[in-house]
Each structure stands twice: as C-alpha cells, then as structure tokens.
C-alpha cells in the first residue's frame, strides 16, 4: 500500500502565564491553570503509534511529538508535518492536540500554546485556530499531493470565557498560510473531545478521558470484522469514542463531537486489530424474569456457557466479552429457544 502515516502529536500542560505557572501572570487567566494530564495524554498516543506500527495500515512514516510547545515551536513542527503530508495523496495525516482550548462556534476551536498570555493585547496571539490548520491542510495548486486521509483529534475544553468581550471577533494566530483550496476530496473527520461550551476531563498525571478512549478505540472498540480479520476504519471511530468516553472513570457528562468531511469513511481503514476485540456488554434481567427466578443462559456459539452471579447483581450486569456470535436464553428454559445474536464492538445491550 502506498503512502505513509505522518503524525503531529501535541500535549500542552505547562502554561507559565496561567495560574500556578512559573512565569509572569497573564493579564487574564480566564480560570485556566496548569494541566497535568495533557502531556501524558499526548505521550500515550505517540507511544501507541510506535508500539503498534505493525498494525497500522499505513507505515508510520513520521511522528512528531511536542511537549508544551510555544506557538513558534508549534508552527515550525506543523509546517514540516504539512510538507511531509503533501508528498503523496495516499498519505494519512494524523493530528492530536491535548491542552487548553476555547471555542467560538459550533465546529471551531482555538488551541492555546504554552506561551499563551505572555504579552498584553489580543489574548489569542499565542493560540491557533483549528480551522486554520484544517484548511491549511487542504489540497491546493501548490500542494496537489496533499494527504487525502486526515484524522484530527482535538482534546481540549471548548469553553467560552465570561471575561472575553466580543471574543468571537478576536483572531488567533495563523500557523498556515491559507490559499484557495483546490477540489477538496479529503476524508478528514475532526473529533472533538467535548461539545462546544463544555469541558473535557483529564486524569491527573495520567492522561485524559479522550486519549484513553482513542487508544481503546484503536485497540478494538472501533473495530469491524473484515475478510482479513478485525480492523478499525474511520466510520466506526466516533461511536467508539462516545462509548469509551462515557464508560471512562472521569468523563461525567463529557460528550464527544465530530465535524469535517467523511468521504469514503467506510473504506478508510486505519489499523488492524490483533485477535478478537472485546465488547462492553450490559446484560439485564427483566423484572418478570427476576421474579420467576430465571437466570441468563448465554454461550458463544459452539462454546461453553458463561457464568453469572445468581441472583444477577448488579442488574444490569456490566461485563466484557470477545466479539462474536452468542446464544441467549434463560435457565430454566421458559419454552423459548435460545436466540443467536451478534455481539459487536463497541457495546452490546441485552435484556432477558
């Protein structure tokens, strides 16, 4: 397969001019402080790519990782990354950012770099706009061989600071020069870790709910069965991210969001999965079944029955099974033959 995967992974946790920082305090911190989860989150994504490069459908051709970069550092790396991505339309571009973010509209996010707040005036001068990055990566007459598969992951809050007057008219700094795009035939979904106006959560010193969900998705939560085994494609990614964020330990109320272009999303495979992925299962007994003293009688097709506590507690019962076909019934049999059903990632619910 031609083309390679070029990744730009950014984690910004050190903000010297925000609360708790080592530098001169910014004129306004807008309630933002240091982040202990952002850099570990970015590191985990980069480490996953390296550790799983054999599973990637495209060779990992480059992986740039930035830890709390200034805007200039980020701009330098982004320009180099763009040049790499523009060498072959069969390339895949992957962008991941974890750090502070602000929002101005439904599919907009402003990403704050480490030197945010280091000078008076426009507070967004050390921040950049996701749209600048997104459209800067469009195919153009100057870059006709731009990667046509692009995966954008924005792991940041999308709050609207009450201190900002006329915030929507403020301009963030451009990283890319924006020229007229050519025919834009990218598959370029953008996954946001939070819907506009809401928060994204981190696990102190360990990562974020979204980064954990992303890795779980790539490990199999977003997988589909294909002729060549299980694989993760673009079309399954959003649903898996949703489920994994909701199932995570710190994501109370956090909801992921998606925008961008989805051309051929079903066919854009990202990674293969070793073996059979596991599925989050919620199994319940109806009130009638409980009252009748029935218990689940479930077995993988051709396999041994699964065991469950009796009575089923908690009800619903949360568990994890290998993806596959299972027969569902009750014991003692209530006269109804067990029914075979498909248990597929990312989640499965059944009430008996």
């Amino acid at each position: 397969m031609s083309g390679g995967l070029h990744a730009l992974i950014v984690g910004v946790g050190d903000y010297p001019h925000l609360e708790g920082g080592s530098g001169e305090p910014a004129a306004g911190s807008y309630g933002m402080a240091q982040l202990t989860s952002a850099v570990p989150a970015a590191s985990s994504v980069g480490q996953w790519l390296h550790a799983n490069r054999s599973k990637l459908v495209k060779d990992l051709a480059s992986c740039r990782m930035l830890s709390s970069p200034t805007l200039d550092d980020f701009r330098r790396a982004a320009l180099e990354w763009r040049d790499d991505c523009a060498t072959d339309p069969d390339n895949t571009a992957l962008f991941y950012f974890s750090g502070h973010g602000l929002e101005r509209s439904r599919s907009d996010a402003v990403l704050l770099m480490s030197d945010f707040g280091d000078m008076p005036g426009n507070p967004l001068v050390k921040a950049t706009d996701v749209n600048n990055l997104f459209y800067g990566m469009a195919p153009t007459a100057q870059r006709p061989r731009m990667a046509r598969t692009q995966l954008w992951f924005v792991d940041a809050c999308r709050g609207f600071p009450k201190e900002f007057e006329d915030f929507e008219t403020l301009s963030a700094s451009d990283v890319f020069d924006i020229v007229r795009p050519d025919v834009d035939d990218r598959c370029a979904p953008t996954y946001f870790s939070a819907i506009p106006g809401t928060a994204a959560y981190g696990i102190p010193h360990a990562g974020t709910a979204f980064s954990a969900a992303l890795l779980a998705s790539l490990d199999g939560a977003a997988a589909r069965s294909t002729a060549d085994g299980w694989a993760v494609a673009v079309d399954g990614l959003f649903r898996a991210l949703e489920v994994e964020v909701a199932a995570g330990p710190v994501a109370d109320g956090q909801q992921v969001w998606m925008s961008g272009q989805l051309r051929d999303a079903v066919a854009r495979t990202i990674a293969r999965v070793d073996g059979v992925p596991r599925v989050r299962v919620k199994l319940g007994l109806s009130r009638a079944s409980e009252d009748a003293g029935l218990r689940p009688a479930i077995a993988p097709l051709g396999g041994q029955p699964l065991s469950f506590p009796h009575p089923l507690r908690p009800n619903p019962h949360l568990c994890s099974w290998p993806a596959g076909a299972y027969e569902f019934g009750l014991s003692p049999s209530n006269g109804v033959a067990p029914t075979p059903e498909l248990v597929q990632p990312p989640e499965f619910e059944r009430v008996l």
Binding site: G99, E103, S107, R180, A194, A200, P316
Partner: protein, 377 residues
Amino acid sequence: MARLEFRTSSRVDVPVEVYDRSLELVGRTLSSRSLSLDAGFYFVVGRLPGGERVRASVDLEADAVESVELAAPSPSRRLPEGRARGAGKRAVSESRRSSWLGRDDAAPPLDARMTESPQRPRGVPMAELRAYRRSADGWSQTDDRRAVRRSGAIAWHGDGDAVGLWPRDGAPTFALLPRKGVRFYAIEVRRGSDGAPRLKPKLTNASADALLDYLMRGEIGEALVMSTSTALSAERLLYDKASDPVAAAAGAFALLQLGELERLHDWTDNLRRLFGWLPDGLVARAEHLAQVGEHDQALSLLLELPARGLPSLGAGLAYATERLRLYAAIHPSKRPVRRALDWIVPYSAAVDVQAKVTTFTGDAPDTPTVTPRYSGQ
C-alpha cells in the same frame, strides 16, 4: 441464490447490515429492499432512527425467500427505569447516561440528559411559545402565543418567521423557520440536563430527520445507505407536487458531508433556484461549489446570506460559518466577507449543536447570546 427481506414497524426505512457466520459484513441495505445471498446462516442488525440496534438471525436455504422482522425491544424487555437493583451509584449514573435504555423509535426521542420535571404549581405552564415576524424594520413579536405545559411535540401553526420558547425558568431559545416552509418543521419541547425546557424542532420528513440523526451520531455507514432511500431522492423532494425543500436541503448537506458529490448533480443548484426563500439552499449550493474548487462563485452566494437569513438547519449554519471564516482568511481586506462573518458567528456561538434545526439561546431572534462559562481542561 436466496433472497432476504425485512419487516419493520418503523415508519422510515431502516439501515440494515447482514453478517455471515464468520462475522464478515456481506451486505448493507435498507429495510425496504432485499438482499440476494448464498444459502447459509446470517446475522441481521438494523439501526433504528432513535439509535437502538435491533438484531435477528436467519438460516437461508437455497432459492428461498425469507423475511426477517426487525423489532425494537418490547417494554417488557427493557431495563427498568431508575435505580438498578443491587447497583452502586456508578452503575446508576452509567445507566442514565447511556443510550441503552431501550427506546421505541416511534416515540419521541428521549433527550439523553432528561431529568425529572421540577415541582411547580399545578396549571402553570412551564413555558410559552411565541411567534416573531421579520420585516424591513427588524423583528417584532406577533400575537401568536401558546402555553406549553409538558414536554413533547407541540402542534404549532404560528404565523411568523421565527418561534421562541420562553421558559418560566431559564434562557429563551429561538428557531428561525422560514414562513413559507413552516410545515416542513415540527416543534418539540424537551428538557435539558438542567431541567429547563428547550426548543427542539425537527423535520416533518421522517426520513430526512433520521438521516440527520444518523450523521449526528457518527453512524456513517448507516447514513450513507439511508441517503439512498427513495424517500430522499431529488425527484421526490424537489420536483414532486409534494416537494419538501427542507428535506432536500438536509439530504444535500448529508451528501456533502459524506463526500458523495457525484450524486448531487444539479440538486443544489435546483434547490437554490426553485426555493429561493430557503437560505439553506443557497448554503448547500455554495458548499457544493466550494468543494469542487469554485470558490469565487461560492463566496458570491454566501455574501447574499445576511440578506436572505440564517440557515434553518444546523448543518447549513456550520457550513456557512466555516466557509466564511475560510474566505475571510483568504480575503482579509474584503469588508463584505468580514461583515458576513461578523453577522453569522454570534449565532454559531449560541447554537445548540445537538439540534438538527438551527436553535439558539438569545434575547430575541436577532440577538443570540452565549452563556459564558469555562471549566475543566
């Protein structure tokens, strides 16, 4: 070859996937169609518009025609609402938060964050619907008002260009519904996670409404096959006597997001020309032109938008905003571009991103307001 057919009580086509014993996807279609398959055992999975998966299995014999029923879980097979027995707090919160609380797709969709109704005096409406009309002098409220006493669908035939929901407690929400097309929208009122009633308009064309739902949930494969439904064909939506341009706009936006430009043909141009009162047609055409590199024409259309009005579909508002941002960056000295962007951005900032129809908080139809807040990361 055998043939597999599907039965469903859903009032719209349901995307269906068929898997063989080795769990490989062998076919994807709509419930109104059939699949020709080799004899064998198959699993069938359908995705209802409300998000539930419905499952079945079938053993097909050679040359047979089998019909599989795709039914939503009956109430007796749903998990009981409220506290799970024997569960700690975590299981309860997961139960409430997840989408697994078996829903009938024929019933109004549950807001995933619905809460109990707050106590209030009997007979006191929880909100009021008001109609607004737009004229050369700006917006004015009409005499059309309707008390809202409970969540759910509201029969609304207000004569205006916008509808506002004024709750007893909480911020008002507005939807701009073009007067000529008000019959293409259905008004619903739902409670948000804070308990406050929210305006949740949807499309009366159930297929188009379902298509937008699939896309908003990121169910791309389902959206792709749903977009091929005959109920969503250009012939039916644009040219039939019972045309539905709002549904046509929804279909166009879906095809644009899915990158199915080859299927659009002159859909967007005809939508714009035939239904000039619908701002979404203009946006769909502009986005179509932009995606094929015709940016001058796209920009020219978008500059008409402030005079024509706000797109009534959330997808239209998003496309218009992002394209105007792009063009403002490419043409920083062009004031009309900046003016158009400055006009639309406040609406984009205030819009309910989980609403298919453009709905925003504000003080008036022309005064969107954002609730400023910042927390977390």
